[in-house]
Structure formats: C-alpha cells, structure tokens
C-alpha cells in the first residue's frame, strides 16, 4: 500500500471537481461571516491547476505539489490563496523527487503542510479557521499510523477528524481572518476554510481508498 504520483494527480482532479460542485455552498458559508468569495476563490485556483495537468502528468510528487502551490498562489488571492499555496509548497518540499510515498510519509507531509499554514497565518486551534479542521486530521493520521492501522483506515480516520474539526468551528468565536471583525456575531456559523479543508482531505480518503 502506498500513494503514487498518479494517486496524487487523481486526488487533485477529484478536489477540483468537488470544489466546483461546492462552489456556491462555500460562497454561502462565507456570506454571513465573510465576504462571499471563498468558493469562487478555491474554484478559480483548482480550475487553474487543472489547466496545468498536461505539464505535470509525468512529474514527481514534489513537482506536482509545487506546481499546484504556485498556481494557487498566483490565481486564488484572498486569505486562502497564500494559505493553501503554502500548504502545497511545504508538501512539495517534503516530496521532492518522489514518485510514490507511504502512508507514514503522507503523515509527515501533511504535518509539514499544516505547519506551513500556521507559519503563514499564525492561527492557533480554536480560532475558527481551516487550522481547526487540519489539526485534528493530522493528529488522527499520525495516531492511526503509530497504531499500525491500515492506510485505508488511517485516511478514513483523518478525514473524519477533519469533518469533526469543521463542525467544531460552528460554536467558535472567530479570532483570525475576516470573520473576527464580526466579534460575537461570528458564533453559530461554520467556517468556510475549515469546510474546504475537510472537502480536500475527504477527497484524498475517497480517491486513494478507491471509494
């Protein structure tokens, strides 16, 4: 069991499809506590990545991730552009030259990618951002790997943790990003960035587990 270059490409393709499908949903989530663009931003970015598929189809995982990163940085803008850009940039650094990675390596990659987001955005857990979906997902993945769980199970557990983390943002008071300007009024709404993070990790689990 491992994750190949082709698995990574299939994942990015699936994410592009899922983000497109959820574009309006993410815009809606970004309306009461943001500026109604998160879905449009992410969709623009992943569409642009799809436009690069030709030039990366025969590349190593590191190159694929770095290309995705540079594309997101140059097309998304907003908060999510630099954040997801850094996420894939860090993932690319950890996978330079690799054509295949193990689930153990994936856990390390994901941890580094999350660290990149934290470094860029300086958010901590409990501040109602994508960090609240990604952090439990990384922890669950690491734990599953440490417990010797199967790749499929580890991915499932990680995606489920992301989903829980996403839902946990609903009662939170936003302290970072645009939602923080609303103060108490940010409470009661699900964070759009945490939602896109869940969609992205859930796609990995589904695609790589062949569901």
């Amino acid at each position: 069991m491992s994750i190949s270059r082709d698995d990574i490409l299939a994942w990015l393709q699936d994410v592009a499809r899922i983000i497109a499908e959820n574009r309006d949903y993410l815009v809606q989530l970004d309306s009461p506590i943001g500026d109604a663009d998160h879905g449009a931003n992410m969709d623009r970015g992943f569409r642009a990545i799809m436009g690069k598929m030709g030039e990366i189809s025969d590349k190593d995982i590191g190159t694929i991730f770095k290309t995705a990163a540079m594309t997101l940085i140059a097309t998304v803008g907003g908060a999510s552009g630099p954040l997801y850009g850094t996420f894939f940039l860090q993932a690319g650094t950890k996978t330079a030259g690799k054509m295949e990675i193990s689930i153990e390596e994936w856990a390390v990659v994901l941890e580094a990618a999350l660290a990149g987001i934290v470094m860029r955005g300086k958010a901590e857990v409990n501040q109602k951002t994508m960090v609240d979906a990604l952090t439990p997902a990384v922890q669950a993945l690491k734990q599953a790997v440490a417990e010797g769980k199967s790749q499929a199970e580890a991915l499932e557990l990680s995606a489920e943790a992301a989903r829980q983390g996403m839902l946990a943002t609903i009662p939170m008071l936003a302290l970072k990003g645009r939602a923080s300007y609303l103060g108490e009024r940010s409470i009661g709404h699900q964070d759009p960035g945490a939602t896109s993070s869940y969609l992205i990790l859930n796609s990995a689990a589904k695609v790589w587990n062949g569901v």
């Binding site: 109604a36 140059a74 998304v76 803008g77 907003g78 999510s80 302290l175 645009r178 300007y181 103060g183």
Partner: protein, 333 residues
C-alpha cells in the same frame, strides 16, 4: 442579480479594458498579471508607491494611479486580495531605484499576499517597505486577533504618500508619513443595504426594510451590530463619537474630514451627513481644515456611508494640497 456586467468572471478584465481606453494619457494597464501603472513609470529616483486589493471598491485603488498619488495598483477579483505576482510585477514596474512602498489594508489575505510579494521583490534587490492601514474603530484592536480593518484612511494615505514621494522624499520618509497618516486617522462605517458579489449572484446578507448595519467594512460583510434605522443626524453621531473618542482627538486639533459613500448612497445624502459630521467636529473643538466628500472607497452598490477623520499638521495639509492627477482624484494640475 441586477448588474451591468457580462460574465461575472470577466468583470475585472473588462473594467481594466475600459480604464485603458479611457485613461491612456494617465495610466497603462498590464494584463496577466493585472495591474494599472502610471504612464510614465518608473520615475527615476522617485520612491514608488503601490497599493492593491480586491476589486469592487472603485475608484480605489486603480482610480488613484497617476502623478502625485499611486505609481501602480493591483486589482484582485471582486473583494479578493490580489496575488503576489501582481504586486511583484507592479513593484518592478515602478521601481525608479529609490525603493517602493506597499500600502496594504489590514486583511489577512492582503497582508499575506503582499508579504510574499515583498519577499520576492527583495530577493530581486528592490527595497520594499510595507505600511499597513488599520483605521476601523468598529473592530476591537488586539494582538491576538486579526486586528482592525484598513478602510477610509487608505485613500488619504495614498494621496499623502504619493505627494511625499513626488517631492523626492526617501523610502523611509515616505513610509513614515504613510504610517503617521494611519496612526492619526480613524474611520467607521454603516450600511443601509448589502451588496451582491457578481459571482455570488445574491446579496451577501439580508437586511430588513427598517434595519441597518453599524460597523461594517468594505467587503459587503455584515457589521458589528444590526439595529433599527435612525435619522441621518443620529447615524452621523453614532459614527463620529467612536472616532473622536478613539484617538482621541483633542479640542484645537486641525482635522481632515472625509465622508465617503459606499456606492449606492447619493451625494445628496452624503452632504446631509457631512453637515452633521462637521457640526459634531466643531462642537468638540476640532477645526475642519480640509474635506473629501463622495464615493471613494466603495463596496459595489452598497448603500451606506463611512466617516474618516485625520488629524493634520502643516506638513500633512501641504501634502494633501499638492497636485494630483489621477482618474479619480485631481487637482492642482
């Protein structure tokens, strides 16, 4: 959605084409990455001043490119901060050898994208100083949060920094005067209606016929509190008092008073607001020595207003009065 547009995804590029057709004497438009730059850039030996942000705030920033104000502006998608490659290319295009000031409104996205651009520009040997505007008193200021939004003061900071750069001041001096403007300015805004982001297709929030939002930003986002409609005089007091109390401004201060329209509020109403704002300022012993009234930093077609007040000294007044020749602000030439 009622808008005079074609496809939502083409709005920004088509706007840029319109600007290129209209103002070719003042600016050049670059596509891919998108930015608007002074027709005569780079001006040798002059500090470059650039800004950028999501589209939908017109005339800010693109309308402020030209002699005496911005050297370049980078428009993002509607309400979405632009990407680092735009700011990097704009920085290179305006660098006359004396360095470049980035005027950045305090939003997580703007900060991060400009930061990346500054890193890349510095790596190419260009001196970059970033100044962050964060004048919105509706937002609590705190080290542990994203802090205050940059709103109306940005327009004034761009004018004054541009004038300082035009005078030949150094990179540090231009950045410092920009920081001073931000430090001495405060703003607050309110909305009577929401606005519709083209790609969203419906208003960002619903506001009943008898309610308004107080403490909004400039991205069509809801404000700090929602309340029943009040009269223009009451609304003006609700914006002015927190502004005056925050700095605080002191009796005897000279100020510039800026009454801004959010896009859908007619000038008629802005003068009614200005009237009361002026009277409140005078009641506090503040002397309004300069003013600006009109839609300069907008949220698409949102109805509402924001008030910005800047404490000025002679130097700031002179820089404000200095000639400016841009599509959106013009005097002295």
């Amino acid at each position: 959605m009622k808008k005079l547009i074609n496809q939502p995804e083409d709005v920004v590029v088509e706007e840029l084409q319109g600007i290129a057709y209209a103002h070719g004497d003042l600016v050049k438009v670059h596509y891919n990455p998108n930015f608007i730059v002074r027709a005569d850039a780079p001006v040798k030996g002059k500090v470059g001043v650039i800004s950028g942000g999501g589209s939908g705030h017109e005339p800010m920033h693109g309308g402020f490119v030209g002699m005496g104000m911005l050297d370049a502006a980078c428009p993002g998608a509607v309400f979405t901060s632009p990407t680092p490659d735009q700011m990097l290319e704009a920085t290179k295009a305006v660098n006359g050898g004396a360095g470049v000031v980035h005027i950045v409104k305090n939003y997580t996205g703007d900060i991060m994208n400009f930061e990346m651009a500054a890193e890349l520009a510095r790596a190419e040997g260009i001196d970059v100083e970033a100044v962050i505007t964060n004048d919105d008193v509706a937002v609590q200021d705190s080290l542990y949060t994203a802090g205050r939004r940059g709103v109306g003061i940005t327009v004034i900071a761009e004018k004054i920094s541009g004038a300082a750069a035009e005078q030949g001041r150094s990179l540090k001096e231009v950045a410092d005067i920009c920081r001073k403007v931000n430090a001495q300015g405060r703003s607050m805004g309110m909305a009577l209606t929401s606005c519709t982001v083209p790609h969203a297709g419906k208003p960002t929030f619903d506001l009943p016929e008898d309610e308004m939002e107080i403490g909004i930003g400039i991205h069509g986002e809801p404000g700090r509190v929602r309340m029943k409609l009040k009269s223009a005089d009451e609304v003006t007091a609700m914006l002015m008092e927190p502004i005056i109390g925050d700095l605080p401004y002191k009796s005897g201060d000279n100020v510039l008073l800026f009454v801004n329209g959010m896009g859908g509020t007619p000038l008629l109403e802005l003068y009614v607001i200005y009237r009361k704002a002026y009277e409140i300022a005078e009641q506090h012993g503040l002397k309004v020595v300069r003013n600006l009234i009109g839609p300069y930093i907008t949220s698409l077609e949102m109805a509402g207003t924001s008030i910005t007040m800047l404490k000025v000294d002679d130097d700031l007044v002179k820089l404000w009065d200095a000639p400016v020749k841009t599509p959106g602000l013009r005097w002295g030439v």
